[in-house]
Amino acid sequence: MPASRPLRDIAVVAFAQTDHLRTTDELSEVEMLMPVLHQVLDRTGLKTSDIGFTCSGSSDYLAGRAFSFTMALDGVGAWPPISESHVEMDGAWALYEAWTKLLTGEADTALVYAYGKSSPGSVRDVLTRQLDPYYVAPLWPDSVALAALQAQALIDAGDTDEPALAAVATRSRVSAADNSHAQLRGSVPRGDYAVRPLRTGDCPPIGDGAAAVILAAGERARDLCERPAWIRGIDHRIEAHGLGVRDLTDSPSSRLAAERAGAFERPVDTAELHASFSSQEVVLRKALRLDDSVDVNPSGGPLAANPIMAAGLIRIGEAAARIHRGDSDRALAHATSGPCLQQNLVAVLEGDPR
């Protein structure tokens, strides 16, 4: 079934991200976030009071503070009252909500932001709290262990091997040499096993960071941006929470989301994949039918900077920024959430023909 065209043309018109750092003790979450909010506003000339809808993504579990996102609202000038929403997920899902809001015609512009401070806690332990609380969470399987199970399944299936995984990590970090925001740049050693078969080089850095984008509809987008990154389609899908129910070597939810977003109608030239582990890129390349003609994660991807809850939004932002700059005409952006690529979002972005 072909993807249906959106009711309105909606584009990403601005993107900004922080430098992603291992720790940012001196900054509260709102202090970390504010500079990127100001950057996207400055780039479009909009003021906070011009924004029709604001939506954010973050997780209280990272910092261990209840309702931490309400504090972050200080950074967007939430008084007097604004039209606002929050998702306890990656900011890519906040962008999805903002996109649907713009589709309704109730707003013409939206500010989407996401942030994660992983430094206060232990990410591997924190992420166990998103697992099934009856059968899985009591065993405390950490995020690296679950990714390693997926990696071994890929190796057993003949889809990859350890040198190929190392090559994914190396390519990502070499690409990140041009990304001044990345946390790990240039060559990074493969390292020791974290959880075999994954080495530290196959795993993303742990860090703090934030990102923001502005969406605009129709002519408004052209007013705000020289070359808007039009969202041609966006869709997200989920699969069974039980890891043993899924085929870990495949990502049918990514494939379906991509199909519904129109990704397979014409080739893309760029793909920004939220593959936090080298092994996940192997799964996603297959599911999303990306061949060597596609520039995958030219930003370095999550292996170079992985601020949890912002990393997926950054994929959309990086893809859009390439269109803004004229480096891409048609890009795929992917975001994920949950263990072993449980939930997947795919957006297809295009620039106007040149």
């Binding site: 059968y135 899985v136 009591p138 039980g242 129910v245």
Partner: protein, 313 residues
């Protein structure tokens, strides 16, 4: 910049959860050394069992016993076990397809090293000595050479079904309040209150959080406020809080410190609760070793005029 504060923060909670009929049978079964799966409409057996078919979303409830032996479908070697994980010595995480099941169960495999583990290897359940009806009643899996273990013949009905679990969770953090709030807390140790002024609207926020919620810009100019202030609004507390050594009723109020454009909150003391009123002028009372004012008491000044604090109520 003065040193940013840091302190350990532990978030700990015993998650208490009730079980539906399928989960109840499965976990009670583990207590009785029986592994149960659930049948789907197309004849598959899911272990661990779920209440709804992940493919069709059909409601499931037909329990069937599967063997306590099975085959590893994928694995990962964990050389550094973490807190809470099933084994304290290096082990393999495994997905095990138990004999008679069509899906994988996640657990730990006790093996001497990664060279002793491979996909397709045969394993069996090692039961925990003490079992309560939890996934941890399976202590782990262990290597096993042989065929399918015999079934017990259970139909999934047991005496004294387990109807709930308590899953303790603990996460350890190092909390840092950031620059603005560190400045506030550090000033308090000198018994001073400082706020931050918004460069745009000029309002002074106490305690400062580093941002102006109206303008959405960073605040940075530190401003000393108080010590005296005006009670803008209050409530009378009649419920005694656990571990709080304050007699009820007492008064809790919003206090606009002189020079501040945001009221902070604190307890009002030194005056009978039924004589407290809006506009009361108050000052902080510090106790020895206190990190913040213990309470605020009347200064004896005439009450403030409503117009002087109405924006702050």
């Amino acid at each position: 910049m003065p040193e940013v504060l840091k302190a350990p923060l532990v978030v700990e909670f015993p998650f208490t959860r009730s079980l539906g009929p399928v989960q109840s049978a499965f976990l009670t079964g583990l207590r009785e050394r029986v592994v149960l799966g659930v049948k789907t409409g197309d004849g598959r057996t899911l272990v661990p069992p779920v209440e709804y078919d992940p493919v069709t979303s059909e409601e499931l409830g037909e329990l069937v016993e599967v063997a306590a032996t099975g085959t590893v479908t994928t694995w990962a070697w964990n050389h550094e076990p973490r807190r809470g994980q099933p084994l304290g010595t290096p082990f393999a995480w495994v997905l095990v397809k138990l004999d008679g099941s069509d899906t994988g169960l996640l657990h730990a495999l006790d093996a001497p090293g990664p060279e002793a583990v491979h996909t397709g290897m045969r394993v069996r359940v090692r039961w925990a000595e003490e079992r309560s009806g939890a996934i941890t009643d399976i202590a782990c899996f262990e290597p096993y050479e042989g065929g399918s273990a015999e079934l017990t013949g259970s139909d999934g009905r047991f005496e004294e079904m387990v109807t709930g679990i308590v899953a303790p969770a603990r996460l350890d953090y190092t909390y840092s309040p950031g620059r603005a709030q560190s400045g506030y807390i550090n000033a308090l140790s000198d018994r001073r209150a400082v706020g931050e002024r918004c460069p745009s609207c000029r309002k002074v926020y106490v305690p400062p959080r580093g941002a102006c919620p109206t303008c959405g810009v960073a605040t940075s100019e530190q401003v000393e406020v108080g010590p005296r202030g005006t009670l803008t609004t209050y409530c009378i507390v009649n419920i005694k809080a656990k571990n709080l050594d304050i007699e009820v009723p007492y008064v809790y109020g919003h206090i606009a410190l002189d020079g501040a454009d945001l009221a902070l909150h604190g307890r009002i003391g030194g005056i009978p609760y039924d004589q407290v009123r809006m506009g009361l002028r108050v000052e902080p009372v510090w106790t020895d070793g206190g990190r913040y004012p213990d309470h605020y008491r009347p200064t004896g000044e005439p009450d403030a005029d409503y117009d002087t604090y109405k924006e702050l109520v």
